[in-house]
Symmetry: C2
Subunit: 360 residues, 2 copies
């Protein structure tokens, strides 16, 4: 019998997330998790919710969460859409804006999931090639503006940690579509914004900012994210999302997390401090370190094989990310490198010692 799946689903390889070993004992620096625990207020909010009425449906609008998030970004709650993790933000966006004849664009190398989401939605996907300084050309941006219904930009970018300026981002604003700033790592930027861009008239009704609690708020286990956008955009996306896409515990946890800004900012500061040391030491070991603004660093080595370094670390139960980006340049050359999450001071020591041995 022929496949009952959509041809697009049969054809797609699917997205492979970073390895999540279930056993203890790994130094896990491969999926950009926060090495520090969430605020005690979050744990308390979860316990309180668990003691309450779990038998009834959650608030489909996550009203308490949206109210707190709106305050933080200087908007009203109708600018906020709650989602089951930032992956769901992105899924809701493709389902809201992209028909089969439409095109999704994204800078490359960056987050490959955009490509998978385009395949699932059955539309075209095009890449904006970045040069070795992680920048694009005016001409290429112009093509993207004309061609794309949705343009995704991770900012800070992964794996490079690059932050582009508002004026640069404006170059990518689709003429008849939306620009999505995927700010999964937004809180780690040198100068995190507070929603100013949302009210910038040049982006009016065509900008969506996505956020997650997985990184800066130490809640990857909870799955909660949200979109910030003009209420006309939120209203349509709200009709596309499942009514009860966020559970009562995730709503309570994320609301508590957002209210404890001090906890998040303290962890951010510790991570950025560790990042400075990590960057310095990696450079001493001979790596080329990309200057980034996220909770990870992207490194390449002029002589050593990247996959070999990854594998040798893995043998010592240290997990980092070996990344391979085919066709990463205009002449279709492959880019490889290593992306390392900034862990605790202790994890960083373990990593650096292991790297020293490997490269000796």
């Amino acid at each position: 019998m022929a496949s009952v799946f959509r041809p697009a689903v049969d054809a797609m390889p699917g997205y492979t997330p970073g390895e999540q070993p279930r056993q203890q004992g790994w130094v896990k620096l491969n999926t950009n998790e926060n090495p520090y625990p969430p605020s005690p207020a979050v744990v308390q909010a979860i316990r309180d919710t668990a003691a309450g009425a779990l038998n009834v449906y959650p608030d489909p609008n996550a009203t308490t969460f949206r109210t707190v998030a709106a305050e933080l970004f200087g908007v009203t709650p109708d600018w906020v859409l709650p989602a089951n993790g930032s992956d769901e933000n992105l899924t809701i966006i493709t389902r809201s804006f992209c028909d089969p004849q439409d095109t999704i664009g994204y800078p490359y190398p960056s987050y490959i999931l955009y490509e998978t989401l385009g395949q699932i939605q059955g539309c075209s996907v095009t890449r904006l090639l970045l040069d070795k300084h992680w920048q694009w050309t005016d001409a290429a941006a112009g093509t993207m503006r004309q061609k794309c219904k949705v343009f995704f930009v991770p900012c800070p970018n992964s794996p490079s940690g690059t932050v582009w300026t508002p004026n640069q981002l404006l170059e990518l604003l689709p003429e008849n579509g939306v620009l999505v700033l995927d700010e999964a790592y937004g809180d780690f930027a040198d100068n995190p914004h507070h929603g100013e861009l949302l009210l910038d008239e040049r982006f009016q009704k065509r900008l969506i900012i996505t956020r997650t609690f997985s990184k800066s708020y130490s809640l990857a286990g909870i799955r909660f994210g949200f979109c910030l956008a003009h209420p006309e955009l939120i209203e349509g996306m709200n009709r596309v999302k499942d009514s009860y896409n966020c559970d009562a515990i995730a709503i309570a946890a994320s609301t508590a997390a957002l209210r404890d800004q001090e906890w998040m900012l303290n962890n951010r500061d510790r991570i950025l401090k560790t990042r400075s040391r990590l960057v310095e030491q990696l450079a001493r070991l001979g790596f080329d370190v990309c200057p980034g603004q996220a909770n990870f660093v992207w490194i390449t080595h002029p002589t050593h094989d990247h996959q070999d370094i990854y594998q040798q670390l893995r043998n010592q139960r240290i997990l980092i990310r070996f990344m391979r980006f085919p066709h990463a340049t205009a002449d279709k050359q492959e880019l490889t490198g290593l992306r390392i999450t900034v862990g605790t001071e202790e994890q960083t020591d373990t990593l650096l010692q292991a790297l020293q041995q490997i490269l000796h």
Copy 2:
């Protein structure tokens, strides 16, 4: 500026879930929640998980959950797909199997969300009209078999509570597609199955059963559901779902809930006992009560206005569901009625007393 949304999204009204009042003091019998709390083992599992590593991603495959679910239904874990509530089960299914030229079918009146999901996916939706005994004709079923890529059947059905036999369901099995048994209320059926249908060769590789923890397991607040299907179907749907669609707490909670079958079955028995009394009393009050096998009853009244009854109950802070199904018969007549969730004994007393006053 023209809308940036897909025309299908602009055109759709969106699904309106049942009312979820945030204030206390309502007798809430409108969204088929379980009136009893979840197992204490569930609450403990949530507390334990909250005390653990929330900063790391959950297991994308929900391995512990799938192992327990597979045992319960006599299959292997690769027959199980975890989802963020049963709504996500249904969303993953439409995204996996339905292209714009495809057709989704469902019996009518039943769960209107199927129609919304078809609209979002941009495909056609067709209704299999049910007669006043909630049955279909052979001829109509034959058309559905030929025409539909996906046919959704809620079984027990909502709002009627009807359970159709495997032989009847076979009449709806698409010739080139999948039959989806939406068993949100499956545990309340007179004779709940234990997965026998999955291994029935007549349905081989074309049957998907969906389940939720929102009803029988008293966990509407958690959002967890799952699909049961042949591994070839699960594998493709797994590539469509978001990698981390279920959070660590929901996985732990649903696993604990599934392990405490006794708790669920005790609550089921209490609900069915209350249902018997409710059915009897509603009949005495002059309602026509549909004989159903779920945790709700569907009633109509030969003389009183249904919406008026609903509104008068609402004025007393008793919420039930007034439902209106346009074009519910071959000659396009509208069907209206009231769907009442089976609550506690006390809630049922309150409801019956109020109805007696209204109908006196």
